[in-house]
Amino acid sequence: MTFDLLRVDTICALATADAPAAIAVVRVSGPRADNLRHSMFVPRHGAQRPYVATRGDVLDERGRVLDDCVCTAWPDGHSYTGEASFELSLHGSPVITRAVLRSLVARGCRLAEPGELTLRAVLTGRIDLTAAEAIDDVIRARTDEAARAAGRSLRGGLAKAVEGPRAALVDALAEIEARLDFPDEELGTADVARLAARLAAAHAALQRLLRTSSWGARLRDGARVVLYGPPNAGKSTLLNALAGEERALVHHEPGTTRDALEVELELGGTRVTVIDVAGVRPLADVGAVERLGIARADQERARADVVVALVPADAPDALATLHALGGDVLVLSKVDLGAPKVIAPDVCLVSAKDDVGLDALQVAIARKVGPPGPDDEVTLLRERQVVCVQDAAEALARAQSALDQQAPGEVVASELRSSGRALDRLLGKDLGPEVLEAVFSRFCIGK
């Protein structure tokens, strides 16, 4: 019998409890382990040798240092799992371990299911069943401890948090499935507007849940705030003013290889990274190099947590241009050159030169960044759970757009189901019979 169950991809897992501790260990195992290690771990001195604990930096996929850690690597056939693998001994902060795991996932690694590393160890013949059972016992004890640490109520809270979105999925599926399976019944057309509204609310709820999970990342990296606007809108001046005002400049990195300038500073108790990008204007008017800069600006904008849009107050149709630009915080800059005639309540008036409106702007940005989040909520979602909720949200978004574009019902249903399956993975429930139950309780069906 050929049996290579599960041994197809590279997996990673936190081998220690998901709670603050002196040291946390992330374990990576599978065919791509060596490649992953080369791409994310830089030894402090010389090259890394197998079996030898080596100190160095672990980097995220953008090349930024996540932690100073110790890495040990094992070649294929000689590790705990029997596969090529490595372990990172990190500083034991959930914020760090989560960032490292997220970065592994971004590089194509899969988060291990509980016990999967041990399962692989048995599958590759590294340990026998009794050893596996012993390990399982230890893991179980540790999990319980971790669960106690995190608090049972939090887990209940998670189930409760996805209860609403899940009910919306079942509702929408019942409406759609009934019409697919019973075309000769007089079910009328589904109330698409009502379904769309329910799904939108469900999607928003999942997004909210995901945001609670990103507090950890935000605590570490800071929220990304991008200054976005036409050339000469005063973005660079504003950046310097914000940095100077705060006197909290961590580093000031000129865009040598990329035409964006990043400054980390503290704003209302939260660390933020403010990014100054190339001015944007119609692509037809610009050359190739500037075009690249604009593309980069748009990328930064897409990735940002908060977008600050700027237009100089003296520009023609300044307000209209600003609103067309859109953003989380709207700014008319250079008001020293002439205040606008019409004042819009949602627009900050700023003169970086004369120090006008900077405080109000900081408050507005801080409000959009949101609170840093209480420490205990950071552990609300484990990485595996984050991935589940993310998958659910993405599939739900696809379902919404399919519904919106009047795609065939079977397509909408397919996306809704795939969203439901992701939530099922999170909660360990089965969506199948539940949908049929909903169909039959709601519609008079059959001949």
């Binding site: 697919l180 008079c444 069906i445």
Partner: protein, 628 residues
């Protein structure tokens, strides 16, 4: 009589029952070269349609096409005797698009009987089977009411609603499998005596109407589709004239009559007379009126029994109310004011074998050699029955030949979903196929049956060489067309005029026809215009589906990859003989009882946790490692 009596072998495969499951099982076994005997209580009722004169529908049409691909008979017989063909769900997407036909009920029966009676290697016998013969824990044949022992190495039970059947109408109740036919008595006792667990289900049928007393002309017409869609790749255009159905609906007065009867305790469904659980999706009219009281009218389809018949089947009016109530409520329905009834509606309660006692081959674990198919397994519907009969017949033959059974995957066929659901989850109400039962619905379409099953069908060799060649020809044509469209480029000067007509974005440079055909606004006729030639409509529609669903299909295949690894891991008997330590009591009990064939099947049993799966996987590896 030669060939009878203890010790003499009468058949290699013996099929009990001549309904839709029995016919397919017997034909498959005989065509695969086994000496086969079909025993039925009424030879002139072979392949009778006990309920509505229709085949196919959403999920069911899919099953019929799968059956055709694997070598079953129902698809072709339905095509040859159908008098009204339609495509359902034309606009709801290719995966739920389905073929359905009204059959000339008598012609269908006669056609199927002709094929069964004429099949080489297949003998038929009219007799009542009352007991199983069991030798050393294995099936050895059956005993008839006359005391005769019919010996066989494999037996397929397809008793339909006849197993312990009781009919109900009003206060009347009498034993029977179908109106006018006696039930299979004794067989239930025999099954139970061998440790087989039975449950009880209920279903019902409509009164039949005399068309000459219905004001047909006053009712809206439902016409068949032109040209008629087909079930079998073997079929040409329908040989019989095509007719329409009529539509009418219940009124507030209808509901009043029914409600009054129910309140007077005259409905066997509500007064405790019927205990078996009925199907929620095929409820009786009294059920609909009481449970969905806010709905003041229900749609009724008047379906003709056949070209030579004056009977109409009022689809939607299944009932077991007393005859005076049936007539009273019928006459409140528009067009039926003066209707005369030819046969009364009734409900039937019957025994079924809890299907979780079956292996995925549809063989009873408690009695090796005994296969079950159709309503005896808790399903409802001719199509569900037929496809199980086919699989049971094939697997009975394979077990005789020492071959592994055919077990279809859930992503391969609705037939696979059906069997997997039955044997792993069981059912507590009559099980009907819905497309929503298939988690890989977008992969299981009527249009890609060949892609899903041709390879298997070739290895089975049950479908005729001609049928398989037709399927292969179609799949080859689809591939060739994809290649052609990939290689053919169109200039903007040609394309943009045509694209403009459908508000499509104009081309800036030449592109392939394939790229253009991907666009939602480019349909098959437009493709032909772009190409400058007319193609094969069926091929091009299939190509269009593949292109427009490519993203979904690829995502589904990614989801599948992981499931597939689990489904490829077969669980050996040893694992059930000594389940690994660490499993919970509940999981252990379920595994030993249900004996899932693969790790994937185990994962679909409710209550089996990922941790339990992990332990099973570990044990599996250990067993494999310790094997010589």
């Amino acid at each position: 009589m030669p060939g009878t009596g203890i010790g003499s072998r009468l058949a290699e495969v013996l099929v009990v029952g001549g309904g839709h499951a029995g016919c397919e099982a017997a034909l498959a076994a005989a065509r695969l070269g086994k000496d086969t005997l079909l025993v039925t209580g009424a030879l002139d009722r072979i392949a009778a349609m006990s309920c509505n004169p229709a085949i196919g529908g959403v999920g069911k049409g899919h099953l019929v096409k799968e059956l055709d691909a694997l070598g079953g008979e129902m698809a072709r017989a339905a095509d040859d005797t159908g008098i009204h063909f339609r495509i359902l769900n034309e606009s709801r997407g290719p995966a739920v698009r389905a073929t359905r036909c009204q059959s000339d009920l008598e012609r269908y029966r006669a056609e199927m009987a002709r094929v069964v009676q004429g099949a080489p290697g297949l003998r038929v016998r009219q007799d009542d089977v009352v007991a199983l013969l069991v030798v050393d824990g294995r099936i050895g044949g059956v005993r008839t009411a006359g005391g005769e022992e019919l010996r066989a190495r494999r037996v397929v039970l397809t008793t339909g609603t006849f197993l312990g059947g009781v009919l109900h109408r009003g206060a009347e109740r009498w034993p029977g499998g179908r109106t006018g036919e006696s039930p299979a008595a004794g067989l239930s006792t025999s099954l139970a005596a061998h440790g087989v667990l039975l449950g009880r289900l209920k279903t019902g049928t409509c009164p039949r109407l005399d068309a000459r007393t219905v004001d047909v002309a006053s009712l809206p017409e439902q016409r068949p589709d032109e040209p008629a869609p087909r079930f079998s790749v073997d079929s040409g255009p329908p040989p019989l004239p095509q007719v329409s159905c009529r539509l009418t609906r219940t009124t507030a007065r209808t509901h009043g009559v029914i409600r009054a009867a129910a309140n007077d305790g005259r409905a066997p469904l509500f007064n405790g007379q019927i205990g078996g659980r009925g199907p929620r999706y095929c409820p009786s009219i009294e059920d609909k009126v009481v449970r969905f009281a806010d709905k003041d009218s229900h749609l009724i389809f008047l379906e003709p029994h056949g070209l030579d018949s004056h009977e109409l089947y009022p689809n939607g009016l299944s009932t077991s109310l007393p005859v005076d109530v049936q007539l009273a409520f019928l006459r409140t329905i528009p067009g039926l004011e003066h209707v005369e009834v030819t046969r009364w509606g009734y409900a039937v309660e019957y025994d079924y074998v809890l299907p979780t006692q079956l292996s995925a081959a549809l063989e009873l674990r408690a009695l090796p050699g005994l296969f079950c198919a159709g309503q005896i397994n808790g399903t409802t519907g001719y199509e569900e029955a037929a496809v199980q009969g086919l699989l049971a017949g094939i697997n009975a033959v394979r077990s005789l030949d020492g071959l592994d059974p055919i077990v279809l995957r859930r992503d391969q066929a609705y037939a696979g979903v059906l069997v997997d659901d039955l044997v792993l989850l069981g059912t507590e109400e009559p099980y009907r196929m819905f497309t929503s039962r298939a988690e890989h619905r977008l992969l299981l379409r009527e249009d890609n049956v060949g892609a899903r099953l041709l390879e298997l069908s070739d290895s089975l060799g049950l479908a005729s060489a001609t049928r398989r060649a037709r399927m292969r020809g179609f799949e080859d044509a689809v591939r060739a067309r994809l290649r052609e469209l990939t290689e053919t480029r169109v200039e903007p000067s040609v394309a943009n005029v045509l694209l403009q007509r459908v508000d499509g974005t104009p081309l800036k440079e030449a592109t392939t026809l394939l790229q253009l055909f991907r666009r939602p606004e480019v349909d098959v006729p437009l493709l032909w215009e772009l190409h400058g030639t007319i193609g094969d409509i069926r091929v091009d529609e299939r190509v269009k589906v593949e292109l427009s669903y490519q993203g979904y299909i690829e995502r589904a295949h990614r989801d599948l990859a992981r499931d597939r690894a689990l489904d490829d891991a077969l669980l050996p008997d040893a694992i059930f003989a000594a389940p690994p330590p660490g499993l919970s009591h509940e999981v252990r009990e379920k595994l030993v009882r249900l004996r899932p064939r693969t790790l994937g099947a185990a994962s679909r049993i409710s209550g089996v946790t990922p941790a339990a799966l992990g332990l099973l996987a570990v044990e599996l590896r250990r067993i494999a490692a310790s094997a010589p």
